[in-house]
Symmetry: C2
Subunit: 211 residues, 2 copies
DNA sequence: GCGTTCTCTAGACGGTCGTACTAATATGTG
DNA sequence: CACATATTAGTACGACCGTCTAGAGAACGC
């Protein structure tokens, strides 16, 4: 009987850690290149230069790879935002929004392929019943909450005009997520200029006192 | 030898017209329900209550169905916008933008499933080489051009502030396209309120004289 | 009525999918 | 060294994919 490595109590081997990481990276690249529908385990294995059996050995299922890929990229983005210090959480709302936009767009500009892959996976990945794994409920919980909080705080302080935090949060995320397409389609995009445009746009869209 | 119906010079039969339309509708529904990756011809045929062969008979390939679906929905949306009169083309830029937003969101609210399917198809559909059929070039040509024109005209008249028409156009489209998810996830969404929020947001984001 | 064309069902085709299994090799420990 | 375990390539499996074909039924001009 096959030993499910993840369920045994032992520590992960050096090889296992490296392989899992390699496979996840190759899965991200493959999804970016061929899309969610075209990212088969055969193509992932081919890119990694290993046999398909290695993937089956280190992961229980294809879904586990994709879900780990999403988690890994999310963790990297959060770590990047933390490290950049652009978004400390206790900033004044205008600065918080600006920091959120700048750190997100900067990360995407530096790693457009993995963001594109994550967008593909979160959009396309479904369980056996056809339901989205990363559906609206997941997005509202994991992604939109923080933004809405910024907006509510800004409105409480009177820095932001009176708009729906939910609608604005969704708009911000859609614009941010779309940036990976822009960077991939036009690698020569002026990131600083694009970022300034987006920041200015949402500053005008949110600030109070001009209505 | 099988006769490729579309390439013969004869007129389309009553049956052919009806079948093609039915198959396209079922494909839209299937894509909406199972996503691009999960929308197989078997499922389309099952939904239509016909055998898979009928699809092959009326369409040369699966790609032809998907591409016709996109074209059909686009045509309906354009017809809706035309009929609603919200967007006449020679309006003052502020009104043009408002009309664009309102007619788009109204159509999506009325037909969220077909818009969702089109978004799925345009994002996921690739040719044999793995290249997106409805890629960035297509979007810029078919979708963004009109918006950019509105923005440029508004800037020329001094009604809009000085922003990048391209960035703003992309933002508008992302927000509009995302509305189908909102309506599908929350069917009880207050469409009028949501529309007013989006209109207000882009009016603040674009208008001159407050910077 | 007959004959032609249109339309459909049913099934087969080659291919790829995700997964499971086997047997061989690598690795590391006593 | 022997031995156990970790890791690998290779292959086989059943399921489903998109496409194709043979032949039966339906529709319709004559």
């Amino acid at each position: 009987m096959r030993t499910n490595i993840r369920s045994t109590g032992r520590d992960a081997t050096f090889t296992e850690t490296a392989r899992r990481s390699q496979i996840v990276e190759c899965a991200i690249e493959t999804v970016c290149e061929f899309g969610y529908a075209g990212a088969s385990l055969s193509r992932v294995a081919e890119r990694a230069g290993i046999s398909k059996g290695v993937i089956t050995y280190h992961f229980a299922s294809k879904a586990e790879i994709l879900e780990e890929a999403v988690a890994v990229v999310f963790a990297r983005g959060a770590e990047f935002a933390m490290r950049s210090g652009a978004f400390t959480g206790d900033s004044e709302p205008h600065d918080a929004l600006r920091g959120y936009l700048e750190s997100n767009l900067a990360y995407i500009a530096a790693h457009p392929r993995e963001i594109n892959a994550v967008v593909e996976i979160t959009r396309g990945h479904r369980d056996a019943d056809g339901r989205q794994v990363f559906g609206t409920a997941w997005e509202e919980r994991e992604v939109l909450g923080l933004l809405e909080e910024i907006f509510r705080e800004g409105q409480r302080l009177g820095h932001f005009r009176d708009f729906s935090p939910r609608v604005m949060a969704v708009a911000v995320r859609r614009v941010i997520d779309g940036f990976s397409f822009q960077v991939l389609a036009h690698p020569d995009t002026d990131v600083a200029a694009y970022t300034a445009e987006v920041v200015a746009m949402f500053e005008h869209a949110t600030r109070a006192g001009t209505a």
